[in-house]
Amino acid sequence: MGDEAAAAGRRILVAVDEGDESVQALRWCLGTFAAAARGDTIILLYVRPAPPTYSVLDASGYLFAEEVTAAIDRYSREVADAVVEKAQKLCTLYSKEVGEGGHEMKVEVKVAVGDARAVICHMADKLGADVLVMGSHGYGFLKRALLGSVSDYCLKNASCPVVIVKS
């Protein structure tokens, strides 16, 4: 027998990135999948690439000066902010549109650093996500035949159910 109260509030982890596909995934999630009235929580996760580190022994260490790596890092943070802001705007937009009886979707934001595939799977575990929602990249002419490698990896390795939303 299911008790409705306990079932309320799924934690839905939505992986966002700079591309349109993840926006589609988020849109789908907000529009169709998540139910605010049930107390679902949407967790937006953006993974930004780790700043490159160069070992002393590696000759490439001489190619990049400190300022350059700092600039790269700053840029990646700016991108992260932009992506997160866009995603949050989308969430509030949907809340406004629906706006029934003050059921607002709970939204959390997480930004992580590192290799997207591994980090997403790890965070899904760590944040206790019930389901992971991702877009998939359409790589040009291979459009419908190829899942982006990140979503592919997560599909195979995440410990929770995964939804892939194709555009």
């Binding site: 079932a7 529009g31 999948f33 139910a35 949907y94 389901v131 599909l155 995440a158 892939i164």
Partner: protein
């Protein structure tokens, strides 16, 4: 209320697949769950029942099973001829297939009934990947639910080929439920 229909060629999505998907909770989400003889697909169905259908009271659920097409068997005879398997053999094979499908679908529908969810069933014939892909398109599904085999020791590194294919090619979002160690309940 369950119907049992062979959706070989025509699948009419009678539900309001208008495409007018504005406003969250009012959308009728059409969930299609693909089942086969494996436990994983049933677990996927169970997860979907608990976590999707329960949260969307107006969602409709269709249970789909892909049955291998029973072709006429031919086998080579004496290096120059082909012999058709006797029709009785083909018939009995077909009956066995249908019986198998019926059992699988019945098990799935029972599970739905336990949770008091009305579901319809459809049996499609042919190669599982393509048949389900087509069925999903024809039904205008909003979400496809699949289990996936964690093949033994290669546990988390391999998706069953059907789930893999469908997650690439289905026309709607695909939910893959993988087996985990501690699946609650």
């Amino acid at each position: 209320m369950e119907e049992h229909e062979a959706a070989a060629a025509s699948g009419t999505p009678g539900v309001d697949g208008d495409g007018a998907e504005r406003g969250a909770a009012a959308t009728a989400l059409k969930v299609v769950a693909a089942v086969d003889a494996s436990e994983e697909s049933l677990r996927a169905l169970s997860w979907a029942l608990d976590n999707i259908v329960r949260c969307h009271p107006d969602a409709t659920l269709v249970v789909v099973h892909a049955q291998h097409a029973v072709d006429h068997f031919v086998y080579p005879v004496a290096a120059h001829g082909l012999a058709y398997a006797p029709s009785s053999a083909v018939d009995s094979m077909r009956k066995a297939q249908e019986e198998n499908s019926r059992r699988i679908v019945a098990r799935a529908l029972d599970m739905c009934k336990e949770r008091r969810v009305g579901a319809t069933a459809a049996i499609v014939e042919g190669d599982a990947k393509e048949a389900i892909c087509q069925a999903v398109e024809q039904m205008g599904a909003g979400l496809l639910v699949l289990g996936s085999r964690g093949l033994g020791k290669i546990k988390r590194a391999f998706l069953g080929s059907v789930s893999d294919y469908l997650s690439h090619h289905a026309c709607c979002p695909v939910l893959v439920v993988k087996p985990t160690k501690a699946q609650a309940k």
